[in-house]
């Protein structure tokens, strides 16, 4: 604690920035953990639910249980789009979703938009983790270099190069690098971990989109 309090103004500023990076990084790591875990768990459950039911309207009524799944969001948007087109065409049967050829394109667009939106949501704040992982060690290194510069300046002024004069300055300076690494290491690990999970989810969304498009196409052909 004394090391931090005795440090110079620039080193203190560097330490403050690094503490900010560390606090926000950990907040994002917790945030991502909650989001990604829930998304993966509910996506798996939603797929089971989706394939167990044959009718879109039944699936649409049970969506609230899977509110954190990106696949559920895709299905909800598609379902809303189909409902709107159904309302537009009068005299259609309620139990069968009928689709024309133009409707397939609209569904594809809706799916693409929903996927983009969900990908953005899942990748939100990950860039901050990447920035922390790459920049924090350098910011810490800057604090260390500055602190050592001051320490050597002090040695020059006192004219004594004893360990008692040199050691405190260097020790204070090295705190900045240590804190930089403390902030960067979890950020890098978190970034790689969550990026991998998000990529898996994006792959799932892609596959699910293709499945929905196929279903819509089959529906239009049967019509």
């Amino acid at each position: 604690m004394d090391l931090v309090l005795n440090a110079g103004l620039v080193v203190k500023l560097v330490l403050l920035i690094l503490v900010y990076f560390s606090v926000v990084s950990w907040a994002i790591i917790i945030y991502k953990f909650l989001i990604v875990q829930r998304a993966m768990r509910q996506s798996e459950a939603f797929l089971d639910f989706f394939w167990s039911k044959k009718r879109f309207d039944v699936i649409g009524q049970g969506l609230k249980e899977y509110s954190h799944s990106p696949l559920a969001v895709l299905f909800r948007d598609v379902y809303q789009e189909l409902m709107q087109s159904r309302r537009a065409i009068e005299g259609q049967e309620e139990e069968h979703m009928l689709a024309d050829l133009g409707e397939q394109d609209r569904v594809a667009r809706v799916l693409r938009r929903a996927m983009t939106s969900e990908t953005h949501r899942l990748e939100k704040y990950l860039t901050f983790l990447a920035t922390t992982g790459s920049a924090a060690p350098f910011i810490g290194l800057f604090g260390t270099v500055w602190g050592i510069m001051n320490a050597f300046h002090g040695i020059g002024q006192t004219g004594s190069a004893s360990l008692a004069v040199v050691a405190p300055g260097i020790s204070e300076a090295l705190v900045a690098t240590a804190l930089g690494l403390v902030a960067a290491i979890p950020a890098v690990i978190g970034y790689n971990h969550f990026l991998n999970k998000v990529n898996v989810l994006i792959g799932d969304m892609d596959n699910f989109s293709q499945e929905i498009l196929n279903i819509v196409q089959r529906m239009s052909r049967s019509h």
């Binding site: 907040a27 945030y31 909650l34 938009r113 006192t158």
Partner: protein, 275 residues
Amino acid sequence: MHTHRLQSSSAQFHSDPKIGRLILVSLVLHVLLVLVMSGTWFGPQRRDQAPVYYVDLVHKPVLDPQAGRPDPRPKAKPKPAPVKSVAVPQPPKVVEPKKPTVKVAKPAPPTVVKSELKPDPKSEQKLQSAIDAMRERQSRQAEIDALKQKLAGLQDTRAAAVPADVPVGMPTGTGDEVGVSMLAYIQEVIKQNWALSPYLLDQSRLASIEAKVSVRYATDGKLVGFRILKDSGDSQFDDSIKRAITKSKQLQHKLPQSTELTVVFNLKEMAEARR
């Protein structure tokens, strides 16, 4: 518009956790981590700090052991005293040999009277030989006294060369040098003028208070100024340091150059030195 509506409905659908709240949680976690690391939660773990000793391994030993002492070596005062004290016993010794001559003179008349009464050549001869023997003894005694006086004189000169009660320095030392380590000399002067209250000395068991002061002296040994680089946080302690420096405003020796040095005042170290 349609996109905005969808996004807002999507946000309602998800109900993601608030990042602001999580930042607060993260901040609390960081504070807890700092508390755990600093040992605040595990009770006071005060380590007894050992006093710091500064040993100068670079400078050569001082030429004269007197060097570094703020008071100059006592010089001329003791010199005349031993010379006088040795010279005093001389007169009585010189007078003493005169007394027997008087004593000899006194018994002489009766012998003369007797000889007048009874002129005896043998007795005259005996008397003459006795007088001769006495004179010979007197001359020897005078010689011995002269030699003793000479010996005393020689001892006085040797005693005057090395005054008593003063540590003897190196053969080449002159006795009034400042010493090789001028900084050590100035530090010693200031620290000798540093008076600590008994209360503060008791406090030294609890905590090691330390202050760092930069002091500047001119070539004539006069204090130019001082600056507290790091105060101790204890006003009494700081005041005692200021008093010590003000007391040392004039050194008794001139310095080869204007000097600025940093003096570390450590309460624990001083307290142990005083015990």
